[in-house]
């Protein structure tokens, strides 16, 4: 019993817009978090150091609409050559050649010959150990955001109609309508929307509805220095994402996979989807989210059956021979 999905592009609707967050090029700069806060005037949520990583905003919440996750793993990135040392490269001599020869500073200008690689760390293959005995690790960074689901549970369960679907196919809270009932919060399968304690209402990413209206891209995508956050018509983003995954696979990054791009998944596909380098739950994302209202017709049927049972039970209590 989910509401109609986002509008089909047509004469009276712009195409569905969304985000493709390519975490393989995220550098964890948090410019998206800052830009989002500034543009949307999202209040500060405290200066707390978690101590677990460089992630001090921890999770998406009413006051964090973009959240950069940091994950360290004992695993090299595909295509890395950890055993290759640059010890015998004279960086000044290489720099002196800058702009002098046509080859400089082309790729491989400072790379040692393959024969220089230490044993146990052959160039072109990954090794779990660096030559000095340190364990290799990879650092995954990912900027999380509201998924703007095709079948959005928050929108379905909102009793006031405060949450609505925009002409861009995004899901937005009307703060002048929201009465702070808090139902959208446990309904969200991603843990995105949340209540602002001092304000009482629910808040989340609007995909910068105000900016979209004037043809500007959302603040986070605008601020992203590596184009990890890409904004555009969803159809285009899906094509771009598919070719990016193919490119990464051919480069040896076999962990690359898309998350939330499939219109057949439990939420009908996300308006904001991701390229991840590990399982979704590693990033704090649910592996197989399902919109809770998918089962709502069945829930109403069970509740009706229970109501009939209750009525029958009371009727039975009054039947039969009883001395009052």
């Amino acid at each position: 019993m989910t509401e109609q999905g986002p509008p089909q592009p047509g004469a009276d609707h712009p195409p569905r817009m969304g985000f493709f967050t390519d975490t393989s090029v995220c550098i964890g700069c948090k410019a998206c978090e800052v830009a989002c806060k500034e543009w949307n005037a999202v209040p500060a949520d405290g200066l707390e150091l978690t101590g677990m990583s460089y992630d001090n905003s921890r999770r998406l919440s009413s006051d964090t609409w973009r959240h950069v996750a940091f994950i360290e793993q004992r695993k090299p990135l595909g295509g890395q050559e950890p055993g290759v040392s640059h010890d015998n490269v004279d960086i000044f001599r290489a720099a002196a050649g800058l702009g002098v020869t046509i080859a400089s500073p082309g790729p491989g200008a400072t790379a040692p010959a393959p024969a220089d690689a230490l044993p146990g760390a052959p160039a072109g293959e990954t090794s779990p150990l660096a030559p000095d005995g340190r364990t290799e690790l990879r650092w995954l960074m990912s900027s999380d955001v509201c998924k703007h689901c095709t079948h959005a549970a928050c929108l379905d369960v909102c009793p006031t109609g405060s949450l609505f679907r925009t002409e861009f196919g995004t899901v937005v809270v009307q703060e002048d309508i929201c009465n702070g009932c808090g139902y959208c919060i446990p309904a969200c399968p991603y843990g995105v929307i949340d209540q602002r304690p001092d304000d009482g209402r629910a808040w989340k990413c609007t995909l910068c509805y105000d900016r979209l209206g004037v043809g500007a891209e959302p603040a986070c995508a605008k601020a992203c220095p590596t184009d990890s956050i890409q904004f555009g018509p969803l159809e285009q983003l899906r094509e771009r994402a598919a070719s990016r995954v193919a490119q990464l696979h051919s480069a040896g990054v076999l962990d690359a996979r898309l998350y939330g791009e499939d219109p057949q998944d439990g939420v009908g596909g996300d308006g904001a989807f991701f390229l991840l380098l590990d399982e979704p739950e590693v990033y704090g994302l649910p592996p197989d989210p399902v919109v809770t209202t998918r089962d709502l017709p069945s829930m109403w049927r069970y509740a009706a059956a229970a109501a009939v049972t209750l009525t029958a039970g009371v009727a039975v209590s009054f039947l039969g021979r009883s001395h009052r």
Binding site: D156, P159, T160, N179, A305, G313, V314
Partner: protein, 344 residues
């Protein structure tokens, strides 16, 4: 976040710092349960620093669990009132009508009190939206609450009797829905233990509501008129205990929170009070005033504890990433093994 303490035994609660080990961790540390055995073996799963995937409900337990309880009590009381009205048990009818009116009024107070913007309560009625159980519930209460009040006023004043009878009948039609829709309210969320129990929760709430209404009857009506209340108590308790038992059998992992921690204590206390109250009611409820009162109070308390237990269990299941990740992983695995069912 967490702080470390220096104690005579050394530093407690310190974070690992430089010695921190990176990579996959197998689940999260188990909190110390008092000899509770896990129902299923610990599954290995990944999390983001053990943090929950979901945002847990921000509802106050007293407001919302209290609302579920009072709604259940009110709805079943209206049925009891109609039965007593029909069979001319005037004192029982008056007690049940008062209980329905009082409980639904208090439940409205609790519901509005829990809103972030209570002054905007009426926004609930600016749309009609069957996809939102809270919206449906608001409309239901908007129709039901005035009926209970009309039924009570007519009974107390002795005037407009036909209208009072009609209001009693109307409240008895909407009452069972008020009692059971609250289960849909909980189940229609991403909270694992609530959603997974959507088939059994309405029956558990119906049974619990019946037991509570019977409790009020036993507590306040004259012993001579409590025969139906005694029967209703045993039927309600049977339905409640039976459906919670089925729920524990049918849903494997996400029924765990119903048995652990604070929620587990509440659920066990609820069961003990409901069983004890029912036995006392059936054995002595129609002879002894004291026994009827004690039984009624126990049934009321047992019903309240069921709602608080279910509420706490849901919050606990949302706060532990295990209950979100492990069942979803299992579902994915199943889908991959059966490609034909992938579009389920």
């Amino acid at each position: 976040m967490s702080e470390s303490d220096v104690t005579p035994e050394g530093v407690r609660g310190a974070r690992p710092g430089r010695e921190a080990v990176t990579g996959r961790a197998a689940g999260r540390r188990r909190r110390g349960g008092r000899g509770e055995r896990p129902v299923v073996p610990e599954a290995e799963f990944s999390t983001y620093y053990g943090m929950p995937v979901l945002n847990p409900p921000r509802w106050e337990a007293l407001d919302i669990a209290g609302y579920l309880y009072l709604g259940g009590l009110a709805g079943a009381s209206s049925l009891l009132a109609a039965g007593a009205h029909l069979t001319a048990r005037r004192r029982l009818a008056l007690v049940a009508k008062s209980s329905a009116t009082g409980a639904v009024s208090l439940s409205l107070v609790a519901l509005i009190h829990d809103l972030g913007r209570p002054e905007r309560f009426l926004n609930m009625l600016r749309v009609f939206k069957p996809t939102s159980p809270m919206n449906v519930g608001s409309w239901l209460l908007a129709g039901y609450a005035p009926l209970t009040m009309a039924a009570l006023l007519s009974d107390v004043s002795g005037r407009y009797r036909p209208a009072g009878a009609a209001a009693t009948a109307g409240a008895a039609v909407l009452g069972p829905l008020v009692t059971t829709y609250t289960a849909v309210l909980l189940a229609d969320t991403a909270v694992p233990s609530w959603h997974d129990g959507y088939r059994q929760l309405p029956f558990a709430f119906a049974g619990s509501g019946a037991a509570a209404a019977a409790g009020v009857g036993l507590l306040a009506a004259p012993v001579a008129e409590t025969a139906p209340a005694c029967k209703l108590a045993s039927l309600g308790a049977g339905l409640e205990l039976g459906s919670t038992q089925v729920m524990k059998r049918r849903i494997v992992l996400t029924s765990e929170p119903f048995e652990q921690g604070h929620a587990g204590t509440l659920m066990r206390a609820s069961k003990a009070l409901t069983v004890g109250g029912t036995l006392l009611a059936v054995c002595a409820g129609r002879r002894s005033r004291v026994a009827a009162s004690v039984a009624g109070a126990a049934l009321l308390a047992g019903s309240a504890m069921l709602r608080f237990g279910v509420f706490r269990a849901g919050v606990a299941s949302a706060e532990d990433p295990k209950y979100t990740v492990v069942p979803q992983r299992a579902r994915l695995k199943k889908q991959r093994n059966k490609p034909s069912a992938a579009t389920s």
